[in-house]
Amino acid sequence: MIRNRSSGCRAGRRWRWGAKLPYRGLIGAACLLGIGSLTLAQTAPAGPSARGLARPEIPSMLDSDLPAVVRAAAQVIRPSVVTIETFGDIGFADPTAPGNTPGNAPGGGRGPRSPQPMLGLAEPGAGPCTGLIISPDGYIITSTYNFLRRPQVITITLADGTQYVAHLLGRDDTRGVCLLKINVPAGRELAVPTLVDPADLKVGQWAIALGVGYGTATPAVSVRIISGLKRIFGRAVQTDARISPANYGGPLIDIEGRVIGICVPLSPQAGPAPPGMLAGAAGVGWYDSGVGFAVPLAGADAARWFDKLKAGQDLRPGRMGVLVSPSAAEPGEMPGAGPATRPASAHPVPAGLIIRQVQPGSAAAKAGLQPGDIMTAVAGRPAASLAELKTVLAHYVAGDTIPLTVRRGGKNLSLSITLEPAE
């Protein structure tokens, strides 16, 4: 079979299919000619390569039993879903609301949730937003997208139509959620949803997002699956249900009506926002794209940041202030590669991150880190790559103090570092 003919030139052809034998004699022949050849019919296997004529049953996505199950699950969660509306122009803080400081409002002119045009939106909307009751005494969680600035007045409408005034407590910029509180009348207990343990989640299970962002009395639903677990450095569940301002702050539930997480806009490039965009708006450009995120409420981390938010603290991503590179790296090799790729000779340097630079005045400088140090463990966990370091740090926020194990001059040192907010 010709393989080495240069393109466009026919002269170099040696032979072609069928050229040796008169073609017409072979029409309809189901087998090879010649001695010693095998007939195709005898050797064609019944395996996956055979051209089967019967179409095997291919399952469909469109499970006809699902709609009723979706409606039932939405009913289960409905009492805990609230509608949030904000009033008052930015630039004027309600002195009665805790946590409002003059520095929150850089000056206004437009609605409380629409400071500047954001990624993918020509002009942000002015509708209500969604929240979820997470405790019977009136704590409500929602997305920071709706609270990029501190609005003057916040009202909550519960599922039964009763309305309350709410106060904004803390904001968690690492996860994109914030906490509100309403004063529940004595004797009234709010409906709290059941949470799913993140360890029980499976890629491929149905996921339903609920939100009131369109202004409907009953939350609108969007249905798809869980696409990935532990995204954005372990902070979020990924779904291809349509996540957008219509349901930011609302719950992502399973088919039993249990909460998987709170829908929020997130992006791996979280951190200092580009100029002209407020922190917390990153990720909204991916609305309705089939890449959406929900932040789980269950788990050990959740309890910790819930307490901080209750106390009115704003949580920001913590940074160390160092430039690092993996200690085991060689050109073309990355840590985490399989054992077959490691050179035969044992590497004398311990696995970890080498400190290349320490920013003056940063958390790392205050902790006593020096260039040349090798960080072998962060908060008790190994971190041999930048991705692993970011995943460990994702469990902490600015202000947390964590232990470090550092190798300097052949000796192991225990240091502790208090993370500082990224500016």
């Binding site: 003919r5 179409r55 399952p59 979706v70 039932a72």
Partner: protein, 779 residues
Amino acid sequence: MLAEVRSAQARRIAVIRQVIPAVVCVFGPNPAAGGGAGVLLSPDGLAVTNFHVVAATGEHGLAGLSDGRLYPWKLVGVDPGGDLAVIQLTGRDAFPYASLGDSDRLAPGDGVLAMGNPFALAEDYTPSVSLGIVSGVHRYQGGEGGSNLLVYGDAIQVDSSINPGNSGGPLFTLDGKVVGINGRASFAERGRVNVGLGYAIPSNQIANFLGDLLATRTCRHATLDATFRDQGPAPRSRVICDALDRESALARAGLQLGDRLISVAGVPIRTANQLAGLITTLPAGWTVEVVWESGGRQRRAAIALDALPYKVPPRPPVPRMRPATRPATQPATAPVPAARPYPDPFGLATAGVIRNPALNQRLAQALLARALSGSGAAAEPVQSGAAGAWLAQPAATFSHLRIEGSARVAGGPAIELSGRQPQRGPFVAWFDTDLAHPHLLAYSPADASGRPRDVPAPQAAPAPAPAVAYPLAAIPSLLRRTVKIRGAGIGAEVGYASGIIISPDGDVLTAAGVYTADPNLKVVLADGTVVPAMVWRRSDALQTVWLKIPVKTPDYFNLSAQPRGRPGDWVLAVGNPFQVAQGPEPLSITAGVICARAAIGLRKRLQDLPLEGDVLLVDAIVANPGAPGGALVDLQGDLLGMVGKVAESRATGTRINYAIPADALDAFVHGRPIPGVGDQGRPGVPDVRPAQTGIRLFTLAGNRTPAFVDAVVPGSPAAQAGLAKDDLLLAIAGREVRHVADAQKALAGLSVGRTVTILVKRGNSVLTLSVTPREKGRP
């Protein structure tokens, strides 16, 4: 019911868990620089990805698997024309792998799973998974810049989410077979973010090129050295030869200009576009049977497909410094401009040549060893005769092994391998394209120069496969009841859309748009017939236009069926987003659920749309150019509504996916009042007497301050309603009040005697008060 849903869900979870270990996150030497995806097809680490992924990363790099580890990979072969590449991972004894399915069995509506690494989100290298349906098959997406590179000539269109980073990743059926490699998507104003249309290279095309890829060649694509065009109007058009190279195989076989083409490689040819798409799936060098009609007689011949050359763009000369050969005290020579060849690491200019003979030999040895060890699912019994004796030899006795490339054997793709055996001499063997369990298809002794003595005949077309069954019986009629519409566009507004047939007498509804103003408006029916259309009526409230066409249309939607559509119900949207379907090609189908039914404020960019009444909000993406006017149906095929024109929600600021409900359309068409629209039932003459409520606002701080009540006139309507000093006005008559100016405007618009609701904040409570304004100046 919950139990059935749970068990179907569990089956899907199990399939994903089984195949996801074979999905690869493909990076260059530095994973932080981003990359694409791929899928492993054999335990020795051979994986398929897109050519444009390896073109960006280079000839080697790192690959992440769901076990959390990185493995080095090296490039094996590339197919720049079809956007495919094969890479080889190392670092493990046995890699998990997936198997190719039959992409010809796919039908619109079939469920699919797309896996890959969108936006490089997989920090732990566990790929992202998205569920969707097949929206269309045999779709054409042309090459980059009109070239013959990265041509998706026979693509599977899907609505599972495909984003940057999904490239090269597999498309699975719900039973875990790879039916495509995802590599392209339609993007528009939102930038490089999925809007519901993704395209995958079908697995049958991948199987065609697998042999050439494993031979470490830069693959070449086929050409007939002739062009064809449609003659006559659809649906009875013929495909005839328009231009013919005199040296071509077709000409030498007797084809003449004007002859009508009937079939190629066993596939009946219906349109010139279809032929063009089919040819892109075939490798150069194959021989296929072509049937044509010449002077009333049917003729057929085995045609050897020529190679389509790649155009390598020229590079301007670059000044070059000569290395210093003299002592340092002398100045270095001045730069000498010299024309340098364009860097061509993938061998576009020398496509077809075996680039890496050593790698080729290693792959040939591995393939043969696996085939002889009978590591297939069912071990084949040794055949009697010479071939059986050949099969019984251990792999180590074979020498001079080489993968020659792709071949077509028994009507399907094969991998051709040549070599020598001590007792038997030179031979050529053909294996099927299952890399994990290769089976021998044919074998032939060869002469000293490697020419096989017996050549598998170019098979006559295999017995026709049964018609592909749609997963939903309603789909074929949906495709006949929905039409394509062509008109003129203006600026950013496109001139194409979709429409729904609502009666047997040529009534079509579509969404309002500038194209409806075109006097040459055309409707294209499902069979490709083009008819002129005339605007009959418009509804501003529904942003809908009613057209008349001069033909009878036995397939139509019944507007009075009005199935009950509740939130959570499945919907299918049928239409022509991005004009993917041309002429008689079937429209696109996308699936989703009803999110809600509600009245919603819409705008187009910054201008409010006068749309009134309820709409059906859905999570199937229909907010794309070309989709408005399309059908929104339930799983039985009954019309729920008509897809609305592309717009944004005033509430969320985002593009909104919605349809005008069938009951509103029905009312419009029959001249009845449309539910929820207009000022129906408002009696009497509007009252223009100036109204007052007795509310005095605190205005000293300016117009943009919050609307606090400074005083309430005793005995006034506000006093009677219970309003008090220091109350903060939040809303008046349902309109949000953000500051004093809003409040003044709202209060000025009230009417005497008409009670309105005022929402106020008092302390920590929100109160609703009813105020009935009195005439100003009257007590």
